[in-house]
Amino acid sequence: MHPLERLINLVALLLEARRPLTFEDIRGVMPAYQQTDANSAKRMFERDKDVLREVGIPVELAPIDPWEVEQGYRITRDEYYLPEVAFTDEEVWALFVAAHAPGEGGEAEQAFQKLSTGTETNVLAAMAERTAAPGVDPSGPYLGAIADALARRRAIRFKYRSAQGKPSQREVDPYALVFRRGNWYLVGQDRGRGEARSYRLSRLLSAVKEVGAASPPPDGFDASTQLESGPWGLGKPAARARMAFSPKVAWWAIASTPGAQIVRRRRDGWVEVEVPASETESFVSWVLSFGADARLSSPRTTRDQLVNKLEALVGDG
């Protein structure tokens, strides 16, 4: 008998059984385990059970009678069957696009196939004709393990290269995963440094190792505030700035700055705008990147900072 046939029979038997079955019960009804040597039959059954668990089939041990004298195997239907999730056609397509984005695809595609079982044939057939919009794989090799530790509240240890380039060992209580500008970041409490830090996953130099239970994030911690939202840097913009863009760059600059509001268009073609801002280096950098095509008028302190930088650049370029 082919191993696959034996495995299918075992799954069917345990799914349909009304009570947990002992190995002797199973051997009694499945000819595949009825060879003369009971020990070798038992070993075969143990291996089959491992295969079922590897495939994700929840084979459990449970008492077979109220006195809990003997234990048997069962597959609980509630644990086995995928709950019915009603997706719209648009949602199924969106999941298809996600599953087929580049990178380690096998597991995501398998997940999609299970979820789309109830989908109308014509919807799935139409998908085969369309082209998914894929992207470059941003996940790297450690995303799954980190997400897993985050979900199960486990602290982790890994080797990390900081932006300054120095590699070191970190121990972190994970708070959140954040996807920002094409990169995944882990946000969490750095135990060695005693403060919350964010780590770019592409800078991990080793696999992650779980090191016990993680402490929870502080009250009011919100993963969404860890997002860079614009030229002002992280979090919500603290200030508003008044600036003007030259006619050459105005369209692009305004379109690419979230929250930019046009104040007026000048006769010389320059466009005056108000943009969300912060009094930080990163905001100054952003204005500098436009060179002579942007002029900042307020906040005053930021403008002075900017002028100082320009003077230094003129001096030593």
């Binding site: 046939e5 069957y81 709950p83 580049p102 085969a128 894929p134 470059v136 920002r180 500008r181 002579a292």
Partner: protein, 334 residues
């Protein structure tokens, strides 16, 4: 003896895994053609038939004909009956659920995706319905978005790729700060570092070009179609070195080190004080000058001298904006 059996069961695990996905589908879609199944599940037709042949000798004790799963393959179509217990798919494993969920989240972080609302609602359904120990532990702990720019032209570009339509686009070249009209044959659309890119043949340059979707200001259909040239798609480097490139040498301060993560740096050498000397090839000196300006003192130009001059000139011109316009300054800060 043990080893061949272990290998056989390894293969059996993979085959069982895919049968438990294919069978519920066929039970719900009786008479699905074999080629369609092969296409949907990425399995060769011959492998599928081999699996199905094993399925119909399987079933429940006492394994009499009436206890076995009923599989029929007729004229290339498949029917499966007598398998009520396999009519619903098996749950997602934890790692399958995580893989799909995180890929979906990352895709949501590439702004401008047409399917974003549907994807967002599908991911919420996954969080809520897959069971407490599958994704519920991640709810509220994975955040995406921000940073990138919404690409209005993305939907039109994707449609043109599907239909092989030639487009006329208004494209903003950041380095030269100019808006030019180009005729392109778009072959691929993909996302990288938070931006969407269109790979196309550019008739203006008569060469292959990579366009950032958010810099396409407008898209017009030409009514013509094209024959794809087989341009490389997703996974390609965003920057391709050519012999016309200028090698720029910069010295980067500690807070400018991110440049090495984002751009194609060819060589780097550590210097005292946390500074690093790097070589960056570029097609575009004006673009490089903007980058140096942006780094505002955290980057020094070592060579070529022309670039250093360009940076100084641009800085001087920018400084001029603040020195000339006294009255405006007062108005701005009011």
């Amino acid at each position: 003896m043990a080893e061949p059996d272990a290998r056989a069961s390894g293969r059996a695990a993979d085959r069982l895994r895919r049968l438990l996905v294919v069978v519920p589908y066929v039970v719900r879609h009786p008479g699905t053609p074999l080629p369609e199944l092969s296409n949907l599940f990425g399995i060769r037709e011959s492998d599928l038939v081999e699996d199905l042949n094993l399925l119909f000798v399987s079933g429940l004790p006492p394994y009499e004909p009436g206890d076995l799963i009923d599989v029929q393959i007729e004229e290339g179509r498949v029917w499966i009956g007598m398998a009520e217990y396999f009519s619903r798919p098996i749950r997602l494993t934890r790692s399958e659920a995580l893989a799909l969920y995180l890929k979906g989240k990352a895709l949501l972080g590439s702004p401008g995706l047409e399917e974003a609302p549907a994807l967002a609602s599908a991911l919420v359904k996954l969080e809520e319905n897959l069971g407490a120990d599958t994704l519920a532990g991640l709810a509220g702990k994975v955040a995406v978005g921000g940073g990138g720019h919404v690409a209005q032209a993305l939907a039109a570009a994707r449609r043109a790729v599907e239909r092989r339509e030639r487009l006329e686009i208004e494209y903003f070249t950041a380095a030269r700060e100019e808006l030019a009209t180009r005729t392109i044959d778009p072959e691929h659309v993909f996302s990288a570092i938070g931006n969407w890119y269109v790979v196309a043949w550019d008739h203006l340059a008569d060469a292959e070009r990579l366009f950032r979707a958010d810099r396409i200001r407008s898209v017009k259909q030409t009514g013509e179609t094209f024959e794809p040239r087989g341009l490389p798609g997703p996974g390609r480097p965003l920057y391709t070195r050519s012999e016309h490139d200028t090698a720029v040498r910069l010295s980067l301060g500690p807070s400018a080190r991110w440049v090495m993560d984002y751009y194609a740096v060819e060589g780097h050498r550590q210097r005292p004080g946390g500074w690093t000397e790097v070589t960056l090839p570029t097609k575009d000196l004006p673009w490089m000058a903007k980058l140096v300006l942006r780094l505002g003192g955290e980057a020094k130009v070592l060579s070529p001298a022309a670039l250093a001059t360009m940076v100084r000139q641009e800085a001087r011109a920018a400084l001029g904006l603040y020195r000339r316009r006294g009255p405006e300054r007062a108005r701005g800060s009011a």
